[in-house]
């Protein structure tokens, strides 16, 4: 009996193997015949258009990605300590998590902030908090990412002002502000104003950075949150690029030339556990963006065509059950990010399905990146999976899937229209439900959750943020409001309102306002008066 026959007779584990990209059936094996002959030129070499293999010729041989752990909790003192701890542990960039009131334009003493202060991030009410957050950290020398959207112009103004107080020239500041409001209406939901005034704020910030902060990434167009909300890899890719197109178009409509701002547009994606699909997703994304920038927007500067991105490993896949298993998941996800060619990476902590990360869990997460960087060998060559028949097939597959969504959204009149119609939200909600049903039926297996369960494992030591944090922050805020020059605050807030009503750039008025110690809540209220507030319609 030949080996061939024996192989044929062995039954496979499942009737059908499918990608999670779009449910396409996966073949048993891939060969050169599965690759589109016409697509050979799409692959090219690292550093060459369309950058499928990497934006730089040398990849990580030249420079490793920035290890940028997202952190922020309680008050500025605790967070400042955590930053210094992470820096001492070898982290190479900062990433600020702001608490929800700051993200949504409320001060810590607002009734809606009750219970939220310092919980999901650090409480920043005024420039005073921002100054203390960076005490002992030279902002001229570090690179900082800030996850802030609706209130991004206010927080960037505070960051710039804090840096100036340290003696830094703002033209030297390096970092990223998320500033991606469109995805907030799709997922995550930390919007304040409606789409139109929000787009104006986004572009005001981008224009300001193009003029005065040339090293700062003025936007980080984010698919991460859509993926967390349930999007598939193809949806994440397609919807994010569609939003990117909307921002580029909005800047062009403001009279900016594409190459004056596009090199500072950056992206943010998720990495899931399906290693090869995720690597393929990043390769496809680079190729799609390069083509759109060159062919659709006529970019000439190669930097405008290079998709640069931060990756966060996926929070949704972390399980509360058997939390140590999450270390393995995060490792696979981080590996996908690195083999996919990210510029910056946050690895999640194993206890995040239970609480904010503890110091021990954060350290393991950072060490995971360092082990991949220095021990795994995957950084020794660029795009190590390039040329794998399966990965190349998946890359084409994701590109095609994403382009279908992009074309569909173009037909609707662009991302803003598609969001207003609820199209993107509904597509994602359907994928989320579909996934849950697959998990519930056991079709999608999750170790420790629907298979290989134990139950009763001991809870790890979790980080706690006590209610005293809220009291401390509120009393600090009321002292500030007593001690500052309140007549000046009235004047600067009035200037914010006037600027909001006008059509010039709002940033200078915001910078004056934060320097007078007007708070996030006060400035946001000044904008609310002009722009109104947005309520979601509860799309299911």
């Amino acid at each position: 009996m030949g080996e061939k026959k024996a192989n044929r007779e062995l039954p496979e584990r499942k009737k059908e193997f499918k990608t999670t990209v779009d449910g396409a059936v996966v073949n048993r094996v891939y060969t050169a015949d599965d690759l589109g002959k016409d697509r050979q030129g799409d692959i090219a070499l690292p550093g060459e258009y369309p950058y499928t293999r990497h934006i730089m010729p040398g990849g990580y041989r030249t420079r490793l990605w920035t290890m940028r752990q997202y952190a922020g909790f309680a008050t500025v003192e605790e967070t400042n300590n955590r930053y210094k701890y992470l820096y001492a542990q070898g982290q190479t960039g900062f990433s600020v998590a702001f608490h929800l009131p700051t993200q949504e334009g409320y001060d810590s003493d607002h009734p809606l902030s009750a219970g939220e202060v310092g919980r999901c991030g650090v409480a920043i009410d005024s420039l005073e908090d921002m100054e203390r957050l960076w005490e002992g950290i030279p902002l001229a020398e570090v690179s900082t990412s800030m996850t802030i959207n609706a209130t991004a112009p206010i927080l960037l103004a505070m960051y710039a002002a804090a840096a100036q107080k340290q003696g830094a020239d703002i033209s030297c500041l390096r970092g990223t502000v998320q500033n991606d409001i469109l995805k907030e209406y799709i997922a995550r939901n930390t919007y304040i104003f409606g789409p139109a005034p929000s787009m104006r704020l986004v572009t005001d910030l981008c224009v300001y950075c193009a003029q005065y902060m040339p090293q700062w990434n003025s936007i980080s167009i984010s698919g991460y949150h859509m993926r967390e909300a349930g999007a598939t890899a193809a949806q994440e890719a397609g919807f994010t690029i569609a939003n990117g197109i909307a921002y580029v178009q909005a800047m062009i409509d403001r009279g900016m030339s594409v190459d004056s701002f596009a090199p500072r547009f950056s992206f943010f994606f998720a990495a899931y556990t399906n290693l090869l699909e995720e690597v393929a997703k990043f390769r496809a994304l680079r190729r799609i963006w390069a083509r759109i920038m060159k062919e659709r927007f006529g970019a000439k500067d190669p930097k405008s065509m290079m998709l640069r991105y931060h990756v966060q490993t996926d929070g949704f896949t972390l399980t509360g059950q058997q939390p140590l298993n999450n270390i393995v998941r995060v490792t696979l996800q981080a590996l996908a990010a690195v083999m996919g060619g990210c510029q910056s990476l946050h690895t999640n902590s194993f206890d995040e399905a239970l609480a904010l990360p503890s110091e021990e869990a954060v350290q393991v997460a950072l060490r995971t990146q360092q082990i991949i960087a220095h021990e795994s060998g995957v950084t020794d060559t660029v795009d190590p999976l390039g040329g794998s028949y399966y990965v190349e097939w998946l890359t084409d597959r994701i590109e095609d899937g994403a382009m279908r969504y992009i074309n569909e959204i173009d037909k609707m009149g662009g991302a803003l229209k598609a969001i207003e119609k609820g199209y993107i939200q509904r597509e994602i909600a359907a994928s989320a439900y579909n996934y849950q049903r697959e998990v519930d039926s056991g079709e999608q297996l999750i170790v420790g959750v629907n298979r290989f369960t134990t139950g009763g494992e001991p809870a790890p030591k979790l980080l706690e943020v006590g209610p005293e944090v809220e009291q401390r922050q509120i009393s600090r805020l009321s002292r500030l409001k007593r001690e500052r020059d309140n007549q000046k605050v009235g004047e600067v807030l009035n200037r914010v309102r006037v600027a909001a009503r006008g059509d010039g750039n709002i940033m200078p008025a915001l910078i004056d306002a934060v320097k007078a110690y007007a708070t996030v809540g006060e400035i946001s209220d000044a904008l609310r008066v002009v722009f109104g507030e947005y309520r979601e319609t509860g799309i299911l």
Partner: protein, 139 residues
């Protein structure tokens, strides 16, 4: 006479915008034959209480991932109980550390469903509790 369908109000109190779980649950409860009022997010306990009483629901499901659950859940339950919603069943979900659960139970949240809970477990729980209460009420 009210219809026989179990009426469930789902809401996210506080400022947290992560609504994936609640939206999936809303679909799941509908597929299980329940009537779902999805109130959405960024709600105060007062707004949720008002809607729960106005809609005359059997169940209120609250979700929170921001860590504000110990403030927002008990306050919501308290307001609803105060205003006459004594027989409403409360369930909670989100990122809730295990050590907080006894406190939430004491405040009137009958069950906290953590991440990874199958939808069937939640629909089963609601059906069992709401039916049992119906029988008790007939005694």
């Amino acid at each position: 006479m009210r219809d026989k369908k179990v009426r469930v109000l789902l809401a996210k109190p506080g400022l947290d915008g992560h609504d994936r779980g609640l939206k999936v649950l809303a679909r799941g409860l509908r597929d299980a034959g329940m009537e779902v009022i999805y109130l959405g997010l960024r709600l105060t306990p007062e707004q949720i209480a008002e809607a729960a009483l106005e809609e005359d629901v059997d169940v209120v499901g609250l979700s929170c991932l921001s860590g504000a659950h110990m403030v927002l859940f008990p306050k919501t339950v308290g307001l609803i109980r105060e205003k006459g919603g004594g027989d409403i069943l409360f369930i909670g979900g989100g990122i809730i550390p295990g050590k907080d659960i006894p406190g939430l139970e004491a405040a009137g949240i009958t069950m906290v469903f953590g991440p990874g809970t199958p939808i069937g477990e939640i629909t089963g729980f609601i059906k069992e509790r709401v039916r049992r209460r119906g029988v008790d009420n007939q005694d």
